[in-house]
């Protein structure tokens, strides 16, 4: 069997190659990154398929047994994210061949980001998670700054300051968890935390959740997001929109489900539901008020991640499956939308909602693709956006949590308002007929968008499948077995 450590080690070690090779021969960064990512994708699909077909795939790094060593685990909860990271990285790479920054250093950062994000998904050690969080963070700060404009450097610095505070707060929480229990292994923490003293366990939970909420960008901890996504090169914005917050949300979900059940549930659930509600309302409002389409999409993420958190708070198997589906679906749809924004900025030099007027006539295919992605983000069947929201709402109703169900439905209505505004401009608005195409786009750019659109439609029926995969894991979590605790 393949050691899951390779999923992380291949991109991390591979990140050394583009920086060196591009100094010896220009333009060798892209093919090298492609090679490394292809290897990593094959490994990811292989390990994930094994994990979903049978038992979770796990390893202890260096053979040091849990709870002393660092464990790596690919189970049904992390497998979808491992595959998502690998495939999204490949799709966006196709886009950056012509569209993105081309320096060797950029592709080194790219691989570093992929390695770090995969690490967050597979580790079962809370401190190791912090290290991977910072590796992916550092790479993404550098990638945002790759845009030529000076505004990108400022946006990257803001992202760095806020992101580091978030990660450090998480580390602070890890400190409390260690003081309370004397272990950093997720399974051992889960066993030891309920018996630990209340203030310590509560401080650990509060700080870790707060830190990850900054990384997820829940309102009001979101301020880094719109600036970073707007200033970043389009390929980078798409990659970060697909993966950065998604992986942080996965980590949040993993902690809530696998580490902290049994610690002050009522208080935490109420607080998180409040945070999610604020995100949904404020994110939608801010999205409605923004002129730049990139900012609109960034603010829309606040609302979407609010829904995901609702699913994790409700925490019935149906709702958790819904959150996973919505995380994957949102990654695909949001990345696709950012790619469209980059594509249109290149071919038609349009960036604001007003400038999008009448685009459907000038660029019918790309506009149709964007329409599918936007309808998916709103949550119209048969897209994956509907599947995720439907399962979360269903789970909320099953659990009798009417507030949660109402939040999901409200977010759909809000989405209709702020995304409908863009679609209305594109299809009904009278475009100022300023000249045709201003630049060309590569086949790779169109292909990346097409993949996102097709995935949005194709993943629409994935809900029951994910629910089936997750069932044994969630049962195991409840029994305290799945994370490696020997009964």
């Amino acid at each position: 069997m393949i050691d899951p450590a390779l999923l992380v080690a291949v991109p991390l070690a591979g990140s050394a190659l583009p920086a060196v090779a591009s100094r010896l021969r220009p333009r060798t960064g892209w093919p090298l990154a492609l090679g490394v990512l292809l290897v990593q994708s094959v490994l990811a699909v292989w390990v994930a398929a094994a994990a979903l077909a049978g038992d979770p795939v796990r390893t202890q790094v260096a053979g040091i047994p849990a709870p002393f060593g660092i464990g790596l685990l690919v189970d049904a909860l992390s497998a979808p994210f491992v595959v998502l990271i690998a495939l999204a990285a490949l799709a966006v790479l196709a886009y950056t061949r012509r569209g993105g920054p081309r320096s060797g250093a950029f592709y080194s950062l790219y691989l570093l980001l992929i390695g770090g994000l995969t690490g967050v998904c597979v580790t079962t050690d809370v401190f190791n998670l912090y290290v991977f969080l910072e590796i992916s963070g550092l790479a993404s700060y550098g990638m945002v700054a790759q845009a030529d404009r000076g505004a990108a450097a400022l946006a990257a610095l803001k992202y760095l300051l806020v992101g580091t505070v978030g990660a450090s707060l998480y580390l602070f929480g890890v400190g409390y968890a260690y003081v309370a229990t004397g272990t950093l292994d997720m399974a051992a923490l889960r066993a030891a935390l309920p018996a630990a003293s209340d203030p310590l366990a509560l401080a650990a939970l509060g700080l870790m959740v707060l830190g990850l909420s900054v990384k997820v960008a829940l309102f009001p901890l979101h301020t880094w997001k719109p600036d970073a996504y707007e200033a970043a090169p389009p390929g980078v914005a798409a990659l970060l929109a697909a993966l950065a917050s998604t992986v942080a949300a996965y980590a949040l979900g993993r902690l809530l489900l696998a580490v902290f059940p049994g610690v002050a549930e009522a208080v935490v659930d109420a607080a998180l539901l409040g945070l999610a509600a604020a995100s949904i309302v404020a994110g939608s409002l801010l999205a409605y008020r923004s002129e730049s389409v990139a900012r609109l999409l960034a603010y829309s993420s606040l609302a979407q991640f609010g829904i995901v958190v609702v699913g994790f708070v409700v925490a019935t198997p149906t709702a958790i499956a819904g959150s996973v589906v919505h995380l994957i679906g949102h990654a695909v749809m949001k990345a696709g939308s950012f790619l469209v924004v980059g594509l249109l900025a290149r071919t038609h030099d349009v960036r604001t909602v007003a400038e999008y007027a009448g685009l459907a006539r000038r660029s019918p295919y790309v506009s149709a693709g964007f329409a599918v992605l936007a309808l998916g983000l709103i949550g119209i069947p048969p897209t994956v956006g509907f599947a995720g929201k439907f399962y979360i709402a269903l789970g909320a109703i099953e659990a009798g949590s009417w507030t949660a169900a109402a939040l999901v439905l409200a977010s759909t209505l809000f989405g209709l308002v702020y995304l409908g505004r863009v679609l209305e401009r594109m299809y009904v608005g009278e475009g100022d007929t300023h000249a045709g195409p201003t630049g060309a786009a590569s086949p790779g750019m169109y292909a990346a968008v097409a993949v996102a659109v097709l995935a949005t439609l194709a993943l629409g029926g994935v809900g029951p499948l994910v629910e089936g995969w997750l069932a044994p894991v969630l049962d195991g979590l409840d029994a305290g077995l799945a994370m490696g605790v020997v009964p």
């Binding site: 450590a5 920086a19 260096a62």
Partner: protein
């Protein structure tokens, strides 16, 4: 900044001292398994030699003998050697990074890793120094 003048006292001292510093760096580097030291500390001491040379002979001349591509290549070499040792355990069917997998005392694989870390740290610190020194010249 004042134009740079080579001082015979400084250059000669650096010539005499440099081998000793390098040896001490290597000593610190290889001692990481048993006592205080290791790749990070040893690497920084080794890098300090490049900095000394830059002070004695001027940044541009030192950089000419140690071009950027070589520095980056050394940094990459260290990283890849670390990965190779870690991955070699997989080849013999043991977990990633298992240093007991090779039939020798785990000290030896760990020393290889320490050297790899040292190479990377030394080249990164040297590269950072040149990068900052150049910004100062401009």
């Amino acid at each position: 900044m004042k134009p740079y003048h080579e001082s015979p006292v400084v250059t000669h001292t650096v010539r005499v001292v440099a081998p000793f510093i390098l040896t001490f760096g290597l000593f610190t580097l290889l001692h990481g398994t048993k006592s205080v030291g290791g790749g990070f500390q040893g690497g920084v001491i080794v890098a300090s030699v490049a900095v000394l040379f830059a002070f004695a002979f001027g940044v541009s001349q030192t950089e000419a003998t140690l071009p950027g591509v070589r520095i980056v290549a050394f940094a990459a070499l260290g990283l890849l050697s670390f990965a190779a040792v870690a991955g070699a355990a997989l080849v013999v069917g043991r977990p990633f990074l298992d240093t007991t997998a090779f039939g020798v005392s785990p000290v030896y694989p760990v020393e290889v890793i320490e050297v790899a870390i040292g190479v990377t740290v030394a080249s990164v610190v040297t590269g950072l120094f040149f990068e900052l020194a150049r910004a100062d010249d401009a």
